[in-house]
């Protein structure tokens, strides 16, 4: 018994919200003396009309899928993991260590091992906050914020003092051996007469991210662990009644969450940079919060929200390339999209519901 059809809630509301965000963004662009139409044109052209544009859009999407899923798992267990950023950093460290120190015969094996390493490192970084929340009642929001700072310090130390090749200026590891290089979309799809995805960083980890979405869906809605995670998230007292251990669920959910955040590093570190740099996560952990919330913690929603943010990132890069629009404008546009689709959605939904109810009354 809903007030409006599911399709309207899933399609109409977000579309109108995005439209509102776009209109407001256009006003901001006008205010700084540029043409909104040209800007939109550039963004669409650059992000969606060329295969290399897609290559970038999907590259960013991959990052946001992982961090979005990371936040979403924790949300299902009613925890707010702000620590995706730090978990991804440490996940990157795991990737770097295996890629640098294990001689791999083939990228596929490297990918498998690196995935495991990324997930384990990320999960371990989430373990302490999870344990403290479960056993000591320390609020996970504080501890994960703190662990972001600590991760940055760890990474800084390791990259400057331990893994940096002698004499290099860059606080980064050496480039990984060729055998660990992941196939990019260009290598997979480009042909001699059709140079698709030229130079763009999208790579096999995108498929891993899609797989993670599917796995996430199965995990949350098809396994008993997911059943327990959601139950715990909805009601801790009921979970206890059902014999679901709060400690276990808290820790397991955070391990999965941290693992997913860690896996984001596969894309940036192994897929794109092919070395670990200091700034590899660049705030994707925080974007993940917005992605998870906008995607309503559902993998399909997360995928779409991640795609939207991927588009904004790549479209924004095109704007930065060909206009004098400051890069902060992109931040403002992101803010408006988050605000309208995520927080002000009821502003659109309420009148729509009224319209649908009225038509239904008239017909019924």
């Amino acid at each position: 018994m809903d007030k409006m059809p599911a399709w309207a809630d899933a399609v109409l509301v977000p579309l109108i919200s995005i439209l509102l965000a776009a209109i407001l963004s256009a006003l901001v662009i006008l205010a700084i003396g540029e043409s909104p139409l040209d800007a939109l044109n550039l963004m669409v052209e650059g992000a969606l009309m060329r295969s290399s544009g897609w290559g970038y859009t999907l590259y960013y999407t991959t990052n946001f899928i992982f961090t979005g899923l990371c936040v979403a798992v924790a949300f299902h267990a009613k925890m707010f993991n702000i620590g995706g950023e730090g978990q991804a950093m440490i996940g990157g460290l795991g990737v770097a260590l295996v890629c640098l120190f294990i001689p791999f015969p083939h990228w596929s094996i490297a990918l498998l091992v690196a995935t495991a390493a990324a997930a384990v490192f990320g999960a371990l970084w989430a373990l302490i906050p999870a344990y403290l929340q479960a056993k000591r009642g320390s609020h996970i929001v504080i501890t994960t914020i703190m662990f972001n700072f600590i991760a940055a310090a760890v990474l800084n130390y390791v990259l400057v003092n331990v893994l940096r090749p002698q004499g290099a200026m860059d606080p980064a590891t050496a480039t990984f051996p060729a055998a660990t290089h992941l196939p990019t979309f260009q290598e997979m799809f480009a042909t001699a007469d059709n140079p698709l995805f030229r130079g763009s960083p999208a790579n096999v980890t995108f498929f891993l991210a899609v797989l993670a979405c599917v796995g996430f869906w199965y995990l949350i809605w098809r396994t008993k662990l997911g059943y327990e995670i959601r139950a715990f998230g909805h009601s801790e007292s009921a979970a206890k009644y059902a014999g679901i251990s709060p400690v276990r669920i808290t820790i397991v959910a955070m391990l999965i969450s941290g693992g997913l955040a860690g896996m984001m590093a596969l894309n940036t570190t192994m897929g794109e940079a092919e070395r670990l740099v200091m700034n590899a996560t660049e705030g994707a952990g925080f974007i993940g919060i917005a992605v998870a919330l906008m995607g309503r913690s559902h993998p399909v929603g997360i995928f779409l929200a991640a795609l939207l943010f991927g588009f904004l990132y790549q479209g924004g890069a095109e704007l930065a390339l060909w206009t004098n629009i400051p890069r902060e404008l992109i931040t403002v546009i992101q803010a408006l999209v988050i605000l309208f689709t995520g927080a002000l959605d009821n502003m659109v939904r309420m009148p729509l519901e009224r319209i649908f109810l009225a038509t239904r009354r008239r017909n019924g």
Binding site: G137, I145, D345
Partner: protein, 321 residues
């Protein structure tokens, strides 16, 4: 550590704690009313920019302060619209506000001043100058108490004293006034407030405005008290630390004071003793840098019990499903 060093560290603690304290109290009012606010960072940033910009243009720090408060309150208003009127997700709204402030401040600053997203440096009356309290000079000779008064207590900008006075004031408002009673009630059981004939929406907006004003003071202090102008992203994560302090303080004013002083102290210590030599081994700067955060986690895990937020916080008040 000798006495003089101790005083210096404490002095630094006070300065570092002040913006945290103001933001923390801001968050306290908001969350006590049931509105979770992770947008403290953005509001502070907006206020820092607006106060510096207006102070630079008018040469009056007071007008700057006013502008900062207005800017921050506007941001609060957006948060209120989203989370109270339209019953949206409070976390998303907070995230959006942080993004919005981060982008808009630089965008406007660049458009306005053309100095790369900075405001011009503030001079003279464009800044809050340190205030020398009465007898500070005369008393400084008195052993122990003298230096404490003259160096630690005296010599801060007015906003520092405002911030510290805000603690008893907040306590008084929350626990001794009608408004405070209703505010605390609306964060715990909005339906109780509603059925008692008091407007939930009105109370929550009031809380949001107070939150905006306090964040405005925090931002203005950063840009016009501690610094002499705005630099992009100059809040540098202080809003998040304030949020942590708020949880640490279990949403209580006096505890908030101690939590913020603790965070300030940890940071001051980390800054002051960055290069400690332990028998030939220099502790890496990264360890000292992370120390405040590590200690926070340890203190939290070791000494602070479970922090239970106001029961209705984060949930929009909705009578009809």
């Amino acid at each position: 550590m000798d006495f003089a060093t101790l005083l210096q560290v404490l002095d630094s603690t006070v300065r570092l704690a002040t913006p945290l304290l103001l933001a923390c109290l801001a968050g306290l009012f908001s969350e006590r009313s049931g509105i979770v606010d992770i947008g403290l960072e953005g509001k502070m940033l907006a206020a820092a920019f607006a106060s510096a910009a207006i102070a630079a243009v008018t040469g009056s720090v007071w007008l700057g302060l006013l502008a900062g408060v207005v800017a921050s309150t506007l941001m609060s208003g957006i948060h209120g619209l989203a989370s109270i009127t339209f019953r949206g997700n409070q976390l998303i709204s907070g995230v959006a506000i942080n993004f919005l402030a981060s982008g808009l401040t630089v965008l406007i600053a660049q458009d306005w001043f053309g100095q790369g997203g900075r405001t011009p440096s503030l001079m003279g009356s464009g800044r809050f100058e340190p205030i020398t309290l009465p007898f500070a000079q005369a008393l400084s000779g008195v052993p122990v108490i003298g230096p404490i008064y003259a160096e630690l207590i005296s010599g801060h900008s007015i906003l520092v004293y405002v911030a510290f006075l805000m603690v008893p004031l907040s306590w008084f408002v929350l626990y001794r006034t009608r408004f405070g009673l209703r505010l605390r009630a609306v964060g715990e059981a909005p339906e109780a407030v509603d059925t008692a004939g008091v407007s939930v929406v009105g109370l929550r907006y009031a809380a949001i405005v107070i939150c905006g004003v306090l964040c405005g003071l925090a931002g203005a202090y950063l840009a016009t008290g501690l610094q002499a102008g705005f630099v992009r992203e100059m809040t540098a994560g202080r809003g998040y630390i304030a949020l942590a302090a708020l949880i640490f303080a279990k949403w209580r004013p006096w505890y908030a004071l101690f939590a913020c002083l603790l965070f300030g102290l940890l940071q001051a210590v980390a800054l002051r003793f960055q290069n400690i030599d332990l028998g030939g081994i220099t502790i890496p700067v990264q360890v000292m840098d992370a120390l405040p955060y590590i200690l926070t986690v340890i203190i939290l895990a070791g000494f602070v019990g479970k922090a239970i937020p106001p029961r209705a916080s984060g949930e929009p008040y909705q009578k009809e499903r």
